[in-house]
C-alpha cells in the first residue's frame, strides 16, 4: 500500500485538520469530528446535517456551506459516525426551525442517526426529521436485502434541499423536497479496481486486469456481478439501462445527469463517460436539463464511476441553479 498518510489510525483527524486550515470559513469541532458552517446556527433557518463514513470525500464535509449542508459528521473510514457526533452536529446547527438529517441507507448509518435522534428528542425540543436516501438500482429493494443503498442522489439532494433551506422554507417543506428528490432519482455504479482501506493496507477485493465489477456501492464492497472489461460505450449502457428500466425518465423537464468518479478515475475519462451517457439517454428519448461531472462521492482510490439520473421539474431546476458556496460545489455565489 502506498498512501500519503502518517499513521493509518490518524487519517480522519489529520484530514480534518487540513480541511480546517484550508477552509477558515468553516468551523471544525475536532473532538466530535463535525464540520460546521462558520455562521451556524442560523436563526430561523432549517439546519441540514449529514454524515457518514470517511473515504467518500468531498462528500460530506466538502458540501458544508451556503446553500447546502450546515454540518457534516465524519466517521472512521467507511464507518458511520457515532450518535454523539450526530447529536453535537444537530445541536450546533439548531437555529430554532428544526433540523433535517440526511442519511444514506446503510444499516450502520441508519441505526446511529436513529439513536442520535432519540437522544436529541430526549434532551431538547428540537424537531428532527430524517430523510434516508436509497437510490441504488443495483440492489433489489426486498425483504431479502438491507434495502437499496444511498449513493449519488445524496449529493443532488444535499444541494437541492440545501437551497430550499437557504430560502427560509420550513422543515416540513424542506423534508418534502428531500423525499421527492430521493423518490425521483436513481443510480448505478461500476468499478475497474478495488480500493484500499488505510487500516486494512491492501485492496478490499482482487479484480483482474480484464474484468470489472458492475453494481458496486461506495465502500469497496464487490458488486452484483463481475463481467469482462468492455468499452466505455457499453459500460454506459450497462449503467443507464437498469436506471431507465427502474424509473421512467422521459417527458417532463428532463433530468439532472450526474456522472460521478469513484476517486481513482481521471476527469478525462469521466467526461468521455458523460458523452456516452448522453448518447444512451438521447436514444432513449431522455433530455438532459442539467449535469454534474466529477468525483463528488468517492470510494477512496477506487477506479470507476457511477451514473445518477434525477427526474427534474421547474422547482428542482430552480433550486439546482440557486447559489451554492462550499469547498467542493460552488456557483452563483
Amino acid at each position: 500500500m502506498k498512501k500519503l498518510i502518517n499513521d493509518p489510525a490518524d487519517v480522519v483527524p489529520e484530514a480534518l485538520r487540513g480541511l480546517a486550515a484550508a477552509h477558515p470559513e468553516l468551523r471544525v469541532d475536532h473532538e466530535n469530528r463535525v464540520v460546521l458552517r462558520g455562521d451556524a446556527p442560523r436563526r430561523g433557518k432549517v439546519g441540514l446535517v449529514s454524515g457518514g463514513g470517511s473515504g467518500h470525500e468531498p462528500m460530506h464535509a466538502g458540501f458544508v456551506g451556503v446553500g447546502m449542508l450546515d454540518a457534516a459528521c465524519a466517521g472512521e473510514v467507511f464507518t458511520s459516525p457515532v450518535p454523539d457526533q450526530v447529536v453535537a452536529a444537530t445541536r450546533g446547527v439548531d437555529g430554532g426551525a428544526g433540523v433535517l438529517h440526511i442519511v444514506k441507507n446503510y444499516t450502520g448509518d441508519v441505526m446511529n442517526f436513529e439513536m442520535a435522534a432519540e437522544l436529541v428528542s430526549a434532551e431538547s425540543d428540537t424537531e428532527v426529521v430524517a430523510v434516508v436516501t436509497d437510490d441504488d438500482v443495483a440492489v433489489q429493494d426486498s425483504l431479502y436485502t438491507a434495502g437499496r443503498r444511498g449513493v449519488g442522489v445524496t449529493v443532488l439532494l444535499e444541494k437541492l434541499a440545501g437551497a430550499a433551506a437557504e430560502e427560509g422554507r420550513p422543515l416540513a417543506q424542506v423534508a418534502d423536497i428531500a423525499k421527492r428528490v430521493n423518490a425521483t432519482g436513481r443510480s448505478m455504479g461500476m468499478a475497474l479496481t478495488s480500493c484500499t482501506v488505510p487500516a486494512a493496507g491492501r485492496p478490499t477485493f482482487d479484480l483482474p486486469d480484464d474484468e470489472m465489477e458492475i453494481g458496486i456501492g461506495i465502500h469497496g464492497e464487490p458488486g452484483r456481478r463481475r463481467v469482462p472489461l468492455a468499452p466505455a460505450r457499453e459500460v454506459a449502457e450497462m449503467l443507464v439501462e437498469p436506471i431507465l428500466g427502474d424509473l421512467d425518465m422521459t417527458g417532463g423537464d428532463g433530468v439532472i445527469a450526474f456522472v460521478n468518479g469513484m476517486g481513482g478515475t481521471p476527469l478525462l475519462e469521466l467526461y468521455l463517460m458523460y458523452a456516452e451517457v448522453v448518447a444512451v439517454l438521447e436514444k432513449a428519448g431522455v433530455g438532459v436539463a442539467r449535469n454534474l461531472v466529477g468525483s463528488y462521492m468517492t470510494s477512496l482510490d477506487m477506479a470507476g464511476c457511477s451514473v445518477t439520473l434525477l427526474k427534474a421539474d421547474d422547482e428542482l431546476l430552480r433550486l439546482w441553479d440557486a447559489p451554492v458556496r462550499t469547498p467542493s460545489l460552488r456557483w452563483g455565489a
Partner: protein
C-alpha cells in the same frame, strides 16, 4: 452462590478484547469478502476503549461494568457493530439481576433480544444472531439440565462456533453483505465470527467459577 460478579464480567470483557485484537485481521479479512473490510479494526478500537474505560472507572456493580462497555462501544465504534454490540451490553446490563448462572443466561438472552430489535434481523439472515442465538439456547439448556456454569458456557461457545460455521452457505439478508445477493454465499459472516469470540471469551473467563 455468586459466581458472576463484577470481577468476572470484567475478565470476560478483557478476554473478548484480547481475542478481538488477536483476530483483528481475520475478522477484517472475512469482512473484505462480503462487507467493507473494517469489522476487525472497528471492534478492536471499541473493545480497547472499553477495557480502558473499565480501568478508569472500575466498579463493584456487575451491571455497571456491562453498562460502561455498552456506552463506550456506542460512543467509539460507529458502523453497524457499534449500535449492535452496544445494545447487546446495554440490554444485558439492564436485565442482569443476581450473580448465578441463570442471571447471566437471562442477561445474555436480553442482549440477544436487543440486537434482534435494533437490527431488525432474525436467525438465518447471516448475521451475529446466527452465533448468539444458538449460544443462548445451549446455555439455557445446559443450565436447565443442571450443568455447572462453566460447563454450560463451554456448550454455548461450541454452539456459537457451529452457528458461525453454518453461516457460510447462507445468502445474507441483512447488513452490507446482503447487497451481494447470491455472491454472499460461501463466506463466513464476520459478525457471527466476532459474536463467537464473545461467547468463547465468557467460557474462558468464567472457567472454574462453578
Amino acid at each position: 452462590m455468586t459466581v458472576v460478579d463484577a470481577a468476572a464480567l470484567t475478565a470476560w470483557v478483557r478476554e473478548f478484547a484480547r481475542l478481538v485484537h488477536e483476530q483483528r485481521d481475520t475478522l477484517t479479512q472475512l469482512d473484505s469478502a462480503i462487507g467493507d473490510a473494517d469489522h476487525g479494526a472497528n471492534l478492536d478500537r471499541g473493545m480497547t476503549a472499553a477495557v480502558a474505560a473499565l480501568e478508569t472507572t472500575p466498579s463493584d456493580d456487575p451491571a455497571a461494568v456491562l453498562k460502561t462497555v455498552a456506552t463506550t462501544l456506542i460512543k467509539t465504534v460507529g458502523g453497524a457493530s457499534g449500535p449492535l454490540y452496544g445494545t447487546f451490553f446495554l440490554r444485558a446490563s439492564g436485565t442482569l439481576d443476581g450473580g448465578d448462572g441463570a442471571a447471566l443466561a437471562a442477561a445474555l438472552r436480553a442482549g440477544y433480544d436487543g440486537v434482534v430489535a435494533r437490527g431488525k434481523a432474525e436467525r438465518g439472515d447471516k448475521t451475529m444472531l446466527d452465533a448468539l442465538g444458538p449460544a443462548c439456547d445451549a446455555l439455557d439448556e445446559a443450565l436447565a439440565a443442571g450443568k455447572a456454569l462453566d460447563e454450560a458456557l463451554g456448550a454455548a461457545a461450541e454452539a456459537a462456533a457451529q452457528g458461525r460455521d453454518a453461516t457460510e452457505p447462507l445468502v445474507a439478508r441483512k447488513g452490507r453483505a446482503s447487497y451481494l445477493g447470491e455472491r454472499s454465499a460461501g463466506h463466513v459472516d464476520p459478525g457471527a465470527a466476532s459474536a463467537t469470540l464473545l461467547v468463547e471469551a465468557a467460557a474462558t473467563a468464567l472457567a472454574g467459577r462453578g
